[in-house]
C-alpha cells in the first residue's frame, strides 16, 4: 500500500467510524446522471449563485450602506467635492481605489444577469419538456419562488449604490407600494422610515439583500437539489430509456470532473465579462437626487418587462369618496405579475386537471409532442417579450429613429393580440413537425439524392431510419381526450356543468395530435406496401 493510499484509507476510516457514511457514500458516488447539454442550464444557475456569494462577500468588506451625506474625495476627479451618500461614495471607492474592486463589482453584476438569464432558460427547458410533471411539481414551485426572489434580489442589489439611476428605480418601487389600496402610504412610510427617500432605506435593503433573501434562496436551492437527487434526474426519450430506469454517467469520476470543471468555466466566463464588458458605470450617473434624472433610464432586463407593462398601461385612475385608486400602477405593477406568477406556480396542477394524467413521468416530452403546452409556453414568452420591448421603447425610439408613441401603441395592441397569435402558430408548427416525424418513420429520411429509373421517372431516394431513431420518434404516448359529455344519452345535463364542459374542451385542445404511426401501419410497411 502506498503512502497516499494509507492516508486516504485512514481518513475514510476515521469518518466512517464516526458517521457510518460509507454505505451512503458508496451509493452516492455511483449515482447516475443522464447527459444532455440542456441539463447544464440549472448548473449555470447554481454556479453563478456561488459566484454571487463570493464576489458579494468581497464587496461588503468596503461597502458602507449608509445614506449619511458625505463630500466625495477620491480618485475619480469629476465628482470630487460633490455631496453624496456614504453608500455611493463607498461604491466609487470600491470602483477606483480598491485594486480589483471594479472587476469584482462587474463580476458581481454580470453574475447576477447570468443567474437570472440561466434561471429563465432552465425554467423554459423544464417547461417545454414537461419535466415539471408528477412527481416534480414541488420542485417547479420552488423554482418559481426562486425566480421571484431572484428578481427582488437583483433589484435590491442594483439599488444599493444609491446612484441617480438606481434611486430612480427605488422611486418607482415606492410609487407602486404607495399605490396599494388603503395601506399603501403607511407601508411606504414604514419601509422608508418616513418620507421618500429618507435616510434609512439603503441600510434596510442592505440587510435584506445580503442576508435575508440570499439565506432563503440558499435554503430553497438546497431543497431543490435534494429533490433532484432523491427523485433522480429526468431523461430524454430514446432506446433503452424508460420510465423505470435512468441512463447516464456515474457521479464519480465523470460527472464530478465535468460538473466541477463546468463551475470553473462559468466563473471564468463571468470573470472575462467583468474584465472586458463595462456594466453599471455608476460614476457616470452621479449621486441620487429626486429632482434630477438621466435620459434613457432603464432597469436591468429581468425587471424590464415589468417596466414595459407599466409604460403600456392606459392612464386610468378612479377618484371616488375622497380616495384614489391608481389602476395605471396597480394593474401592470402588481395585479398582472401576481396573476402570471400564480398561474406559473400552479401550471403543473392545471395541466393535470386538463389532461387527467396524474401518473409519474420521468421520460421527457419532445416539445412538438405536446403542442398545447408548447403553445402555452410560446404565448407566455411572447407576452413577456412584447412587454420587454416596450420597457426599452425610449432606447428603440432614439436608436432607430422611430416614434415613441407608435412603439407604445404597437406594444399596447401587441400585448393583447400577439400572444394568442403565437399560441396558434406554435401549435400548428408542432403539429407539422409531428407530421414530418410520421413521414420519416413511415417513408424514411429524404436523402436529397435523385435517381432516374430505367423508364425515365425521377425519384428521390429515401433511406429508412435506424431502429433506434425510429423508436425515439414513436416512443411517446398519445393520450385520448377525456370523455366528458355535456349531456348523457338521456339528455340529462352533466352534473359537472360548465366546469365539466370547460374541462372537456381543455382536454380536447391539449390532446390534439397527429396520429403517430400505428403498429399496423408499420407492419404494412415491412410487408412492402410502400
Amino acid at each position: 500500500m502506498s503512502a497516499r493510499e494509507r492516508v486516504a484509507g485512514g481518513t475514510a476510516n476515521f469518518i466512517d467510524e464516526r458517521t457510518g457514511a460509507a454505505k451512503w457514500m458508496k451509493k452516492t458516488l455511483t449515482k447516475v446522471f443522464p447527459d444532455h447539454w440542456s441539463f447544464m442550464l440549472g448548473e449555470i444557475v447554481m454556479y453563478s449563485f456561488v459566484i454571487l456569494l463570493l464576489s458579494g462577500t468581497f464587496l461588503t468588506f468596503w461597502f458602507d450602506p449608509s445614506m449619511r451625506e458625505v463630500e466625495y474625495e477620491g480618485s475619480y476627479e469629476p465628482l470630487n467635492g460633490i455631496k453624496m451618500s456614504a453608500a455611493y461614495a463607498s461604491a466609487l471607492h470600491i470602483s477606483f481605489d480598491i485594486r480589483g474592486g471594479l472587476l469584482m463589482r462587474q463580476i458581481h453584476h454580470w453574475a447576477a444577469l447570468i443567474f437570472m438569464a440561466a434561471m429563465v432558460v432552465h425554467m423554459m427547458r423544464v417547461f417545454f419538456t414537461g419535466a415539471f410533471r408528477k412527481p416534480r411539481e414541488l420542485n417547479w414551485i420552488i423554482g418559481v419562488a426562486l425566480l421571484t426572489l431572484g428578481i427582488v434580489e437583483g433589484f435590491l442589489g442594483y439599488s444599493l449604490p444609491d446612484d441617480l439611476l438606481s434611486g430612480t428605480g427605488i422611486r418607482i418601487a415606492e410609487a407602486i407600494i404607495q399605490a396599494i389600496p388603503v395601506v399603501g402610504s403607511y407601508l411606504s412610510y414604514f419601509i422608508f422610515g418616513g418620507a421618500f427617500p429618507g435616510e434609512m432605506f439603503i441600510q434596510r435593503i442592505y440587510a435584506v439583500h445580503i442576508l435575508l433573501v440570499p439565506g432563503i434562496m440558499l435554503a430553497l436551492i438546497t431543497a431543490h437539489l435534494m429533490l433532484v437527487w432523491y427523485q433522480k434526474h429526468t431523461q430524454y426519450p430514446g432506446p433503452g430509456r424508460t420510465e423505470k430506469n435512468v441512463v447516464g454517467y456515474p457521479l464519480m469520476p465523470v460527472y464530478m470532473a465535468k460538473a466541477g470543471g463546468f463551475f470553473f468555466i462559468v466563473f471564468g466566463v463571468t470573470a472575462f465579462l467583468g474584465a472586458v464588458a463595462q456594466i453599471n458605470p455608476i460614476w457616470i450617473y452621479g449621486p441620487y437626487n429626486p429632482g434630477q434624472i438621466g435620459a434613457g433610464s432603464q432597469p436591468d432586463w429581468y425587471m424590464g418587462w415589468l417596466d414595459g407593462l407599466v409604460r403600456a398601461a392606459p392612464p386610468i385612475e378612479t377618484h371616488a369618496f375622497g380616495v384614489t385608486i391608481s389602476w395605471n400602477i396597480l394593474i401592470p405593477g402588481l395585479i398582472i405579475p401576481g396573476i402570471i406568477f400564480t398561474l406559473m406556480a400552479f401550471y403543473p396542477f392545471i395541466e393535470q386537471w386538463m389532461t387527467g394524467d396524474k401518473r409519474e413521468h420521468h421520460v421527457l416530452d419532445r416539445p412538438r409532442n405536446n403542442p398545447n403546452r408548447t403553445a402555452i409556453g410560446a404565448m407566455s414568452l411572447t407576452f413577456t417579450m412584447v412587454a420587454l420591448i416596450n420597457g426599452g421603447n425610449d432606447l428603440l425610439a432614439t436608436h432607430f429613429d422611430m416614434s415613441i408613441n407608435q412603439i407604445m401603441w404597437f406594444s399596447r395592441i401587441g400585448l393583447i393580440a400577439l400572444p394568442p397569435l403565437a399560441f396558434v402558430i406554435t401549435k400548428r408548427i408542432c403539429l407539422s413537425l409531428q407530421r414530418a416525424d410520421r413521414e420519416k418513420v413511415l417513408h424514411g429520411r429524404e436523402t436529397g439524392r435523385l435517381v432516374m429509373l430505367p423508364h425515365g421517372e425521377f425519384i428521390e431516394v429515401h433511406e429508412p431510419l435506424s431502429p433506434e431513431k425510429a423508436y425515439a420518434l414513436t416512443a411517446h404516448e398519445q393520450l385520448p381526450p377525456l370523455e366528458i359529455s355535456g349531456a348523457d344519452s338521456n339528455g340529462v345535463a352533466n352534473p359537472q356543468g360548465i366546469k365539466g364542459k370547460l374541462r372537456a374542451r381543455m382536454s380536447k385542445a391539449s390532446q390534439e395530435q397527429i396520429q403517430k404511426p400505428t403498429a399496423k401501419e408499420m407492419l404494412e410497411l415491412e410487408d412492402g406496401h410502400h
Binding site: P181, G198, G240, G260, I293, P315, V323
Partner: protein
C-alpha cells in the same frame, strides 16, 4: 373518469425498444498514442490556468491602478483592471476546460443504468405512518383535553402579534405629509442649484429653470424636501397659453410653474421640448402639454402635473402666490383627487 387507462398506451407504441445502442469506443480508448496526446492537451490547459494566475499577480502588484492603455475595440481602458480580470478569467476558465477535456477523453464513458422506484411509499408503510401519527396524537391527549387545545390555539394565534408590533417603529405615520410641501404663500423661488432668488427677467422666453422654495437661514434642504418641492419654471409667450382665467392668473408674464415630480410614479419630469412645448417624463414617457396646464397627452400618467401659482413680491422676485392646491407626486389611497 379522470384517470388514464394505463393499458391503452401499449397499442400506441408500435416499435419494440431496441435497447441501449452499442458502446462505441473513443479513439483514446483504443489508441495509446491518442490517449497520450489527450493527456498532454489536458496538462497544457491546466498550465494555461497557471499562466493566468501569474498574469493576475503581476497585474495586481506591478501595474498601477491608474494606467490607461488604448486598445482597438475597447478604446482607452484601465490596464490594471483589464489584465487583472483577464488573468482571473484565464486562471479559472482553463481549470474548467482541463477538467472537462480530461473527463471527455480519458475517463470512462460507459453509460450506466440505474433503476427508479415509485416515489409513493408502499401501502404497509403508509398505514404504519398514519397509525404512528394517530398514536402519537392520542398519547398527547389533545382530543381529550379541549381546554389545553383551545388555550394553545389562543396562545399561538396571539404570539404572532409581537413581531408585527415590533415593526411599528420602522417609520412614522404619513399623517398629512404627502399632501404638503414647503411652498407657502409668499415663499420665494430659488434656483436649484445655487439657492438664488430669481426675477422674471432672469428667464428668457423658451427657457426652463429648476427651482426650490427658499428656506430660512439655517434650515437644511434634505432629499425628502427636494422629492416634494422641486418645481420647473417654463417661460413661453403669454399668448401661447391655452388656460382658463384662474390658471392664467397663476402664471406671471408667460412664466408657468409645475411640480417637477411626475404625477405617475414620481420621477423627475425633466425633458422639455421647446418647439412643441411638451414635458416628457423619461421613466414611462408620460407627456404633458405646458400650454394647457400640463394636461396629459400621452403615456400612463392619469393626472396633470400640479401647477404652482406664482407672482412677484415687492422686490420683484418670483414668489409662490399660494401653496400647491393638491398633493404632488404619485397617487396614493388617501389622495383627494376631485
Amino acid at each position: 373518469m379522470s384517470e388514464i387507462n394505463m393499458e391503452s398506451n401499449k397499442e400506441i407504441a408500435p416499435l419494440e425498444d431496441p435497447g441501449l445502442p452499442e458502446h462505441v469506443h473513443r479513439k483514446t480508448d483504443v489508441d495509446p498514442l491518442a490517449a497520450k496526446k489527450a493527456e498532454r492537451q489536458v496538462s497544457i490547459l491546466f498550465s494555461l490556468s497557471a499562466v493566468g494566475t501569474i498574469l493576475f499577480v503581476y497585474s495586481y502588484v506591478w501595474i498601477p491602478d491608474d494606467t490607461l492603455i488604448f486598445l482597438p475595440i475597447f478604446g482607452t481602458t484601465n490596464a490594471h483592471q483589464l489584465l487583472l480580470g483577464l488573468g482571473l478569467a484565464m486562471a479559472l476558465f482553463f481549470i474548467g476546460m482541463g477538467a472537462v477535456h480530461w473527463a471527455k477523453t480519458l475517463m470512462p464513458d460507459h453509460e450506466v443504468v440505474d433503476y427508479r422506484k415509485e416515489q409513493r411509499s408502499n401501502n404497509e408503510d403508509r398505514e404504519a405512518f398514519v397509525a404512528t401519527v394517530k398514536d402519537g396524537a392520542g398519547q398527547a391527549g389533545l382530543g381529550r383535553r379541549p381546554l389545553i387545545k383551545r388555550t394553545l390555539a389562543l396562545a399561538l394565534g396571539l404570539v404572532g402579534v409581537s413581531p408585527i408590533l415590533l415593526l411599528r417603529d420602522l417609520g412614522p405615520l404619513p399623517e398629512n405629509d404627502l399632501n404638503e410641501t414647503n411652498w407657502k404663500a409668499g415663499t420665494r423661488l430659488v434656483t436649484d442649484p445655487g439657492d438664488r432668488p430669481i426675477r422674471p427677467s432672469d428667464l428668457e422666453v423658451g427657457g426652463v429653470a429648476q427651482v426650490q422654495p427658499e428656506f430660512p437661514a439655517g434650515k437644511v434642504r434634505h432629499l425628502d424636501d427636494i422629492a416634494q418641492d422641486s418645481v420647473l419654471l417654463i417661460r413661453i409667450r403669454p399668448e401661447e397659453f391655452n388656460l382658463d382665467a384662474e390658471r392664467l392668473s397663476w402664471t406671471y408674464e408667460g412664466i408657468i410653474a409645475f411640480s417637477k415630480i411626475c404625477s405617475h410614479m414620481g420621477c423627475a419630469v425633466a425633458l422639455y421640448e421647446q418647439t412643441t412645448k411638451h414635458l416628457l417624463c423619461p421613466c414611462h414617457q408620460s407627456t404633458f402639454d405646458v400650454t394647457r396646464a400640463a394636461k396629459v397627452i400621452f403615456g400612463p400618467a392619469a393626472r396633470p402635473l400640479p401647477q404652482l401659482a406664482i407672482t412677484v413680491d415687492s422686490e420683484g422676485y418670483l414668489v409662490a402666490k399660494a401653496p400647491f392646491n393638491e398633493a404632488v407626486g404619485p397617487s396614493f389611497w388617501g389622495r383627494d383627487s376631485q
